[in-house]
Amino acid sequence: MDIKRNYYEDIELFKSNTILVWSILFLIFLAILPWLVMKYHLLGLSVYIVNLITVHAIVAVGLNILVGFTGQISMGHAGFFAIGAFTTVIFVLNVGLPFYLALPLGGFISSIFGFLLGLPALRLKGPYLAIATLGFGMAVTTTIKHLEFFGGRMGLQAPKLYLFGTPMKDIHFYYMIMIIAVIMVIGAVKLIKTRVGRAFIAIRDSDIAAEAMGVNLTYYKTLAFAVSAFYTGVAGGLYAFILGFINPESFHLIMSITFLAMVVVGGLGSIMGSIAGATLMTYLDIKLQAIQDISLIGPALVTFSQKYMSVAGISNIAVIVYGLIMILIVLFEPLGIFGFWIRTKRYWKTWPF
């Protein structure tokens, strides 16, 4: 059943008709999702939140190419995100390019920075790489904050986008972002299945062995950084226009950690896992930020906070839950949601045994 007879079967997007059917069903679900959300308030979502989740999913997929498939740690992806966001807005505002050109250009500039960061990363491993990328993320935010060109501390206002002469609303954004996201996810899946992806995985498993097999480490490591930065940069550009306003303060270290958490919670080395992780973590974050509005738990927590904690900082519960999820995932399910999914699948496949 699972035997591959030639190379082209191996790189096929849909391994079986079942997967094809499910994928089409999922795409249909995505197409009617805004309608469900607006009409029935599914899970308390709004189109804006779904947009945010989708953007985060793009970042998570991009980061997973780097962390999950190539095995390079990055704690500076908020930097790429910021570069993408700011350059896209500037291309639209100052240069006057149309959005559909500015967005890939923003991603491209971000990927140039990814390539540059990839160069020192060639010599670094594990903890040292984490420190270097962490420094990169912080340096980008500081630089942007102090340059007047980027609006300084105040940040930039993203211009309104027009679709056939009418200003775009969340729902229009939804379809635009979703189409971009689907294309990028399919691109990532394809990338991993081809020669490049196999080189990435070889580097992750053992870079010395990979080099001995003829994988050009310099080329593929910097390529992984560049591709990952491209995904993040494009997502950043989209993010700027969803929010309508960006300031450098929001692209801080916690954001990089959040991205990393999405990838780890979703499952390292699994594209679908990243999407699931991004969805879960973004949803939790937004819901827990407004924890006092949740019925039953909310009021109880408010009274508890009044007594022992501070009410002003109650949204910090989101951060606590986030941190706990990260720790517990590493301790109990290192493969994240993806690992959980595999185990469940195996359990049912072999069911009564």
């Binding site: 962390v67 740690i73 704690m75 020192p120 010599r123 670094l124 594990g126 903890p127 040292y128 984490a130 420190i131 270097a132 962490l134 420094g135 990169f136 912080m138 340096a139 500081t142 630089t143 102090h146 053992s206 010395i208 801080h252 270290l253 916690i254 950690i257 990393l260 958490a261 780890v264 390292l268 906070s305 022992y308 904690m309 501070s310 002003a312 900082g313 109650i314 910090n316 519960i317 989101a318 951060v319 606590i320 839950v321 986030y322 941190g323 706990l324 999820i325 990260m326 720790i327 995932i329 590493v330 301790l331 290192p334």
Partner: protein, 290 residues
């Protein structure tokens, strides 16, 4: 001006050095990069703040209680989370410490709120001493003294006490240390406690120099990493030297070139150092066999 910049750079560098030392202590023994270091120091500082401000505890007792809290916190983290990880990867360990960092940060934000506060420290951060025309604020002066004394104590501790030697043995070869009768698990807990204490002292000094608020340790954390990389992540004197150097370089850069890009210097140093000499200034370079 040059002398002035160097002196104040040294004082700031002393704080970086303390954080770097706290990280190096852990990294040396267990090869875990502790991203929660800053937040562990911050929560200890907040405990000190509550004791001083709300309960009016005299400073020496506050210091003792804070250090005790720091020890308990570190041991709790080591036993409850780190020890539970079954053969973890580098990324896994980083994620655990990052998760703990977020838990602590969220807890502090919830308990104390996002306001900025001033730590009622017995040394003023406004008055200054005057040494032959060089002004050094009292807090900076005492920071220098405290860190030098702490470094000396740590040096003597690692060199001459039984526990210190046991820690070095564990670092070099865990299995051999176990065979020699060293309880390596205890050593790890103790390492974390020691590091957390050093971090708590650094946190209090940093809060006394500036303000006390939840994100206060973000920047010093990066500087601590930079100092560690500069001096060598496996060398205590290296971390101390790295901290001092970083403080001075940063201050000179801020004084002569550009004040607003001062904090980018740390990143530049990290990248340069990692490219030229990844093991750092003072650490011995060794390559792991595959």
């Amino acid at each position: 001006m040059f002398g002035q910049l160097i002196v104040s750079g040294l004082a700031v560098g002393a704080c970086y050095a303390l954080i770097a030392i706290a990280m190096v202590i852990i990294y040396k023994t267990s090869e875990v990069l502790n991203f929660a270091q800053g937040e562990m120091a911050m929560i200890s500082t907040f405990v000190a703040f509550t004791l001083l401000e709300t309960h009016q505890v005299p400073f020496p007792y506050t210091l003792a209680l804070t250090l005790l809290f720091a020890i308990l916190l570190a041991i709790f983290f080591e036993i409850a989370f780190l020890r539970q990880a079954k053969d973890p990867t580098v990324l896994g360990l980083i994620i655990i410490t990052l998760g703990f960092e977020m838990v602590l940060m969220g807890f502090v934000g919830w308990k104390w709120g996002p306001d900025q506060r001033a730590l009622p420290f017995p040394v003023s951060n406004i008055e200054a001493y005057n040494f032959y025309g060089l002004f050094i604020s009292k807090i900076n002066f005492w920071t220098l003294i405290v860190s030098l004394v702490l470094m000396l104590i740590l040096f003597l501790f690692f060199r001459y006490t039984k526990l210190g030697i046991a820690m070095r043995a564990t670092q070099q070869n865990q299995l051999a240390a176990r065979v020699m009768g060293i309880r390596t698990k205890w050593i790890f807990s103790f390492t974390w406690a020691l590091s957390s204490m050093v971090g708590a002292v650094a946190g209090m000094l940093i809060a006394a120099m500036g303000v006390l608020d939840p994100p206060m340790m973000m920047d010093p954390l990066l500087k601590g990493f930079a100092s560690g990389v500069l001096g060598g992540m496996t060398s205590l004197p290296g971390a101390a030297l790295g901290g001092a150097l970083l403080g001075v370089i940063e201050n000179l850069f801020g004084g002569y070139i550009s004040l607003s890009f001062k904090s980018v210097v740390a990143f530049a140093i990290i990248v340069l150092m990692l490219c030229i000499k990844p093991s750092g200034l003072l650490a011995k370079h060794y390559v792991k066999k595959v």
